[in-house]
């Protein structure tokens, strides 16, 4: 038994009966959709047509949402249905990033993700999904694709079919008969400000057209369902706070070398800073969850494939080592504390960089799948570490200044290299272009200038207060640059329509 859908676009009349029947069956909130109908118009009068595409979960054979779900709320059933258990879901919305089909939405009142589950509650009592039953023209066929006598298997065998975004290698199980190919490729479709008979939600503003990535001239999306970005300020803030925390411990063993005078700042400062920012990081991550009270499931009922889980392990280990170093120092076990500081360095690198592997599981966000993200994150953490050293060292700390400048320049150079890198596909390229046409394009310069000013401050011993103030200014400029970059990176990744 391998369930799947075939959508016969030769028959579909774009009436939205499936959309509404699904809403009635599954009580889908206003503004969210488990299945929806896109209108795409192609051509010029009089040679113009409106094409319909019915979009929904593809019940993928290799479902990225299942892989990324940290708490096993999503599962691939033996009958090929990808189902979601709302009682297990913690509301992290990673599945919404992993899905290349926009198939999941966040039910805010319940604090969990929801999706098409092939009406499994009906299927198990022998009934077809609600969308199939209602369709006036029987354009939606559901059934067992492994049974060659089934209607769906016969339709797929008899007609040429297309599946969405097969390049994602997810094994989608929705087959389209005679769709408009451009309609299934969001990169080729113009996105107007409003639709032919509906408004676009404020959160669903069309992305700007990016030079070099203009959609096809006479292919216009004229009706679509809104898709709210899954991740917001919690996530880009967490990227910054996590990097501050990691950077502090990256710098910890080197503080003496960088000119920080002996004393509490050098001995306890990094741990306190790291633990403080780690606590903020943890708070942000938990607060971002739709169901924060279920956060324990991350550690106690984990999906070990998910980098959200592995990330939690990394953060735990990192926090443990850091806390250990702090406690050892306070207990006077200096050797242990120093050893733990060294152990914390690779953990800090992982703490900063694991997000790259989490993003790599976000198969729906092409920008985040590009190379170099790990390096970029770790470099930026390094900048924070050096900044900490610079501030802790006060005036006349040329080594800290040099380290800060070097890491800042390396970061700026790396960002610039990413900016000029060739994207691996059109959607990524479009997101990439959006990212680098936003204010983010200024941030490498801010970081580099921050580095230069920081060095300058470290070389001016005669005016300790002023130079400290300049150093603070340099760090602030650099940090703001980082913050804005993370924000634009998270936003651009989600801004490009993928369906």
């Amino acid at each position: 038994m391998q369930f799947g859908f075939a959508i016969d676009q030769r028959k579909c009349i774009g009436c939205h009966a499936c959309t509404v029947a699904c809403k009635a069956e599954n009580d889908v909130p206003v503004g969210s959709f488990r299945t929806w109908v896109q209108y795409t118009e192609k051509g010029q009068f009089p040679a113009v047509k409106r094409h319909f595409t019915v979009l929904r979960c593809n019940h993928c054979d290799a479902a990225p949402c299942v892989t990324i779900c940290p708490v096993n709320a999503l599962e691939k059933r033996p009958d090929a249905i990808v189902d979601l258990d709302r009682d297990l879901c913690i509301g992290c919305r990673a599945c919404m990033q992993a899905c290349p089909y926009d198939a999941l939405y966040f039910a805010e009142d319940k604090g969990v993700a929801e999706k098409c589950h092939f009406c499994a509650h009906r299927v198990e009592v022998g009934l077809e999904p609600a969308c199939v039953v209602v369709c006036p023209v029987q354009a939606i066929v559901s059934g067992d694709t492994s049974d060659p006598t089934s209607a769906i298997a016969q339709l797929i065998a008899a007609e040429p079919t297309t599946r969405r975004r097969t390049e994602k290698n997810t094994g989608p199980r929705v087959w389209y008969v005679d769709p408009l190919v451009e309609a299934l490729d969001p990169a080729r479709v113009q996105e107007p400000e409003a639709y032919l008979w509906s408004d676009r939600a404020a959160f669903d503003v069309p992305p700007p057209v990016v030079p070099g990535f203009e959609p096809d001239e006479h292919v216009v999306r004229t009706l679509d369902a809104p898709h709210k970005p899954a991740w917001g300020w919690h996530v880009w803030t967490y990227l910054v706070t996590k990097n501050v925390s990691a950077g502090a411990m990256m710098a910890a063993p080197f503080l003496a070398l960088l000119g920080v005078e002996p004393g509490p700042l050098r001995d306890l400062g990094p741990e306190i800073a790291a633990l403080g920012f780690l606590a903020v990081t943890g708070a942000l991550l938990t607060h971002d969850l739709g169901r924060p009270e279920r956060v324990w499931r991350l550690l106690l009922a984990p999906n070990t494939q998910s980098w959200l889980v592995r990330g939690a392990w990394v953060l735990t280990a990192f926090g443990g080592a850091t806390f250990g170093a702090l406690v050892a120092r306070l207990l006077g076990a200096w050797a242990v504390a120093d050893l733990l500081r060294w152990i914390a360095v690779p953990l800090a690198v992982l703490t900063s960089g694991y997000t790259a592997w989490l993003l790599a599981q976000c198969r729906g966000r092409d920008l985040w799948l590009e190379r170099g993200i790990f390096t970029g994150l770790v470099l930026r953490a390094g900048v924070f570490g050096a900044a900490l050293a610079l501030l802790f060292a006060g005036a006349a700390a040329p080594f800290a200044g040099v380290a800060f400048l070097a890491l800042s320049l390396a970061t700026a150079w790396h960002m610039n290299r990413e900016r000029t890198a060739k994207a691996s596909n059109t959607l990524s390229a479009r997101a990439h272009a959006m990212l680098w046409s936003s204010v983010a394009r200024r941030t490498p310069a801010w970081i580099a200038i921050g580095g230069l000013v920081g060095l300058g401050a470290s070389l001016a011993p005669s005016l300790p207060v002023l130079s400290f103030a300049v150093a603070v200014g340099a760090v602030v400029l650099s940090s703001v640059g980082q913050f804005i970059f993370e924000r634009e990176f998270v936003r651009a990744g989600q801004a490009v329509p993928i369906s």
């Binding site: 009349i13 009966a17 809403k23 118009e41 113009v48 509650h121 077809e128 409003a194």
Partner: protein, 949 residues
């Protein structure tokens, strides 16, 4: 993590999914167990009772099955009814969306009575007893004083067959007003002239060629049943051509999209006729047998010779060459040729349909339907598999018990003498007819009717409804607030599709059926063995069903039976006692639905029990060729030369292939290519199917002034005219109505997509946003009529300040899912403006979804800015408008509508004069209307004659 694949169904049987069913088996409809989707994947069993009913959103009357949670008695969802012959278990978006209407937090649950000036929005709760007593006494007085044209029932969607006919005729009033002349009146006249049947019934499923005027695949009259069969035909190889100025879903799914300049559609159709005739593709046998060509030849002063007729026919359409059509309509000549040939080749299996669109938009639009049916006649596709039959054969109207006699009065407020052929009442002229001094209304019921919003010239309606000397007492029968309900004295909540009884039949396909709408709560209570006396006992709040209202009201009018009314509302089974709805439908199903008694018996049910269980019944019998059935000729005389049988001077049968056949419902019993009726009534120049240049013909437009044609009538797949503002799932999908404009027209006016534009008509203007699109032909702009719902911002509006305590809410009118708050400003006599005081947006209610409304525009109420334009012959409102389109002025705000009703009055008088001028040439007659023409709630033969005294 994995879970075991379930192997046992909740019923205890092994779970099999090799073939999934669309519906639970009928024998489990009383107790169907399914898992609760809100608890899934926890397997929480939910027990449902399934009760069939029929949809009350569009007119198609598709089957629905209400799934009722047996523990909470809440209707959880509505799916299709597999036993419904028209909809076959499937629905459009509006079927399942019925759920929103039932559970709408803003629905009206109690009878309301006005507590401030009309239109102020001040209402208070009253009792049904008070309502029935008030209206009963008032109507009784009108009847006793013989004011039988002053009681008026004005209906939008009837939603039933024959119910009100019975009530109004029992009262003896001529008071049935409808909406057809803002809808289908023109097409009805065109079709009726051919055959006496005023509705087409195409058999799309078996057609070889389907020609659609407008969007029958996604919004047409019977959209779901038609869409099923159009696509069925397409998948079997039928070719489809669609005529529409704008790109509809239907046009997109067609082999040809034809976008002629609006108003030239009849010329296009005659172009196809020309091709068929020029290439000899017509079916001469069919024409010879079934068309009244002899009458035509005689009228030409020629002997009835078929060859001569054929020559005359060819000659008649000689100049509609593809080249002429190309020039006149703006459609490619080669395409005209190709489609003409394809229609000809489809002989016998050419299905076509026009219901509103071009027929309803244009002066002379009624000829569009006539020209379309000409193609069916030429190709012998009338009453054939794959052809277009007429409603009379595919619609079955069951009789009701003890029909009262026809009323003996004729109301000229309904059928004014200037439009004797109208199909039907000149309803949209009512404010002007009353202003003419043709009569007043004592008691006015509006039902599923929202003239302030739906009709053109809504401000004139507001002026009329606000004037107690014109409309004495007004009750609005509606489940939901509307722009019209605001101006009523009483607002009476009536049930939705799951809260009332009705019987309906529609000509959805080649076949006939009846569908039974029933109150779900009542059926369930009765299944549980409870006795329900009245449906309102089980409905939400104090929502009534109309059947029971009219029965109660009729008893209140005639409590002792002295007016002779009460007897029609007494039980056929319990003499002297009040008729119940059970009595009413039991009698109907037992006595007037052929085959139902027998079919019910097969299932061990009585007929009413069968209808309660199945919700629909396919009425057996030949629906394709009743015209070819042998007609009784006893006492009739055969006229061999004419090929007819006559009795008492009337044709009763026609000779076809040597046998007397029943023929069609025309005086000649033939398909009337030539209409003696038109000649007799003074319209002899239109005696044949022809092309009338529309009021927006290019030659009549001042293009130098920037005039352009506006098509303001197109529908959306997920809206139901005025009645879907209470559905959140429909509002979410379609919630605004920008003006569609082609890039070249937009560029000429400096307009870009999203720009605010001012669209000016002869009586005012409205302010909308532009949608620049390739999906519309140049020289035309179009705007869907579905949007622009409003509610008054109480206190901010004139007329009349309202005591804050009297306000039932801060705003009142159309449902908040779709409406924007407005100020209705009335600055000086005739000077009106509607201006928004806010956007559509989230609101507080018991439904958490109301906080999630993400749309804001809501569209513009364009109909307010249109003057009435009654076609001088059909009386149909000619919807299309000549307008100018420009960038909005500085003071304009989105949604503004500004109108001068004194100008609206002047436009009415102009069009009235057109009709009078046409009638002036007519020979004198003592009839109000041709006797063979249908009339809603048909009066007696005596009433058809004008009183001479």
């Amino acid at each position: 993590m994995t879970t075991q694949s379930p192997s046992i169904a909740p019923s205890g049987e092994p779970w099999r999914t090799t073939t999934l069913a669309s519906f639970p088996p009928l024998e489990r409809w009383d107790d169907w167990v399914e898992y609760d989707p809100s608890a899934w994947p926890r397997k929480v069993e939910r027990r449902y009772a399934l009760v069939p009913t029929i949809c009350f959103n569009c007119e198609a009357a598709c089957g629905l099955v209400a799934w009722v949670d047996k523990s909470t008695r809440r209707i959880q969802k509505l799916e299709g009814n597999p036993y419904h012959p028209g909809s076959r278990g499937r629905n459009c978006a509006k079927g399942p969306a019925t759920l929103n209407q039932i559970h709408d937090p803003q629905r009206i649950l109690y009878p309301m009575k006005r507590s401030g000036p009309r239109g102020s929005g001040a209402f208070e709760r009253t009792t049904w007893d008070e309502v029935v007593a008030t209206f009963g006494a008032r109507i009784r007085k009108a009847l006793v004083e013989n004011r039988r044209t002053q009681v008026m029932y004005h209906v939008g969607r009837p939603g039933h067959d024959g119910a009100m006919e019975r009530v109004l005729q029992a009262w003896g009033v001529d008071g049935h007003n409808s909406h057809t002349n803002v809808c289908s009146g023109a097409a009805r006249l065109g079709y009726a002239l051919w055959s006496g049947g005023d509705r087409p019934s195409p058999d799309h499923a078996n057609a070889k060629f389907i020609l659609l005027l407008s969007s029958h695949l996604e919004t047409g009259h019977y959209f779901n049943p038609h869409a099923q069969r159009i696509i069925e035909g397409k998948m079997k190889g039928a070719k489809i051509a669609t005529v529409d100025v704008r790109l509809s879903n239907t046009a997109s799914m067609s082999d040809w999209w034809l976008a002629p300049y609006p108003g030239t559609e009849a010329a296009l159709l005659l172009g196809f006729a020309h091709v068929i005739l020029a290439e000899g593709l017509e079916d001469t046998e069919f024409l010879r047998n079934w068309v009244n060509w002899r009458e035509y030849m005689r009228a030409r002063g020629q002997t009835p010779d078929f060859a001569a007729f054929r020559a005359a026919l060819v000659d008649q359409y000689q100049h509609y060459t593809p080249e002429f059509v190309a020039a006149e309509c703006g459609v490619d000549a080669q395409t005209v040729l190709a489609i003409g040939r394809a229609i000809g080749a489809a002989r016998g299996a050419f299905a076509s349909h026009v219901w509103r669109s071009a027929a309803s938009g244009n002066l002379g639009g009624w000829q569009v339907a006539r020209c379309l049916q000409l193609l069916n006649v030429l190709t012998a596709s009338v009453g054939t598999q794959g052809g277009t039959a007429l409603a009379g054969t595919n619609k079955y109207v069951a009789k009701r018990w003890n029909p009262p006699p026809a009323q003996d009065v004729w109301s000229e407020l309904l059928y004014p003498p200037e439009w004797p052929l109208s199909h039907h009442e000149l309803s949209f002229l009512l404010p002007h007819l009353i202003a003419d001094g043709r009569g007043v209304i004592d008691t006015y019921f509006t039902r599923v009717y929202n003239p302030v919003w739906t009709n053109p010239d809504g401000f004139s309606w507001i002026e009329m409804l606000g004037d107690e000397s014109k409309v004495g007492l007004h009750a609005c029968l509606t489940p939901t607030w509307s722009e019209t309900a605001l101006w009523a004295d009483y607002v009476l909540p009536m049930g939705h599709a799951t809260e009332r009884h009705d019987v309906m039949s529609q000509e959805t396909h080649a076949g006939r059926w009846i569908g039974f709408r029933q109150p779900i709560g009542r059926v369930l209570a009765e299944r549980d063995g409870k006795t329900v006396v009245a449906t309102h006992e089980v409905n939400p709040g104090e929502v009534w069903e109309e059947d029971e209202f009219w029965i109660a009201l009729s008893w209140a009018i005639d409590p002792d039976g002295d007016l002779g009314i009460r007897k029609y509302f007494e039980s056929p089974y319990r003499p002297g006692e009040r008729l119940s709805v059970d009595d009413q439908y039991r009698w109907m199903f037992e006595n007037s639905v052929p085959g139902l008694v027998e079919e019910a018996a097969k299932h061990g049910l009585d007929p009413l029990g069968y209808m309660r269980r199945f919700g629909a019944f396919a009425v057996p019998g030949d629906t394709l060729t009743p015209h070819a059935h042998t007609a009784p000729t006893e006492g009739a005389e055969r006229n061999a030369a004419e090929g007819i049988w006559t009795k008492d001077g009337k044709t009763v049968a026609i000779d076809v292939a040597g046998a007397p056949c029943a023929g069609f419902a025309t005086p000649s019993k033939r398909l009337e290519f030539y209409s003696p009726t038109l000649v007799e009534w003074g319209y002899g120049d239109e005696a044949l199917p022809g092309y009338i240049q529309s009021h927006l013909h290019r030659s009549r437009l001042d293009t130098a002034r920037g005039e352009i044609a506006l098509v303001p009538t197109f529908r959306l797949p997920t809206q139901i005219h005025t009645r879907s503002a209470n559905s959140k799932w429909l509002a979410e999908l379609s919630n605004t109505n920008p003006v569609w404009i082609h890039p070249t027209d937009a560029a000429q006016r400096g307009v870009k997509s999203g720009d605010l534009i001012r669209v000016s008509t002869r009586i005012g203007h409205f302010v909308a946003r532009a949608w620049v699109t390739e999906g519309i032909r140049p020289d035309v702009v179009a705007c869907s009529h579905h949007m622009g719902r409003w509610r008054i911002d109480i206190g901010a509006s004139t007329p009349g300040a309202v005591d804050a305590q009297a306000r039932s809410s801060e705003s009142l009118g159309a449902d908040r899912w779709s409406s924007a708050p407005v100020r209705v400003e009335h600055h000086a006599p005739g000077q009106w403006r509607v201006r928004r005081t806010g956007d559509v947006g989230p609101f507080e209610s018991s439904d958490p979804d109301s906080s999630r409304v993400f749309w804001s525009a809501g569209g513009v109420h364009q109909n307010l800015a249109f003057a009435v334009q009654p076609d001088p012959i059909s009386g149909m409102h000619c919807w299309h408008q000549v307008v100018t389109v420009e960038i909005a002025h500085g003071e304009d705000r989105f949604g503004d509508v500004e109108v001068d009703t004194t100008k609206a009055r002047a436009v009415y008088l102009e069009w009235l004069e057109l009709a009078r001028a046409r009638r002036a040439a007519a020979p004198p007659t003592d009839l109000h209307r041709p006797e063979w023409f249908a009339r809603a709630v048909r009066p007696s033969a005596k009433a058809y004659r004008k009183r001479t005294s």
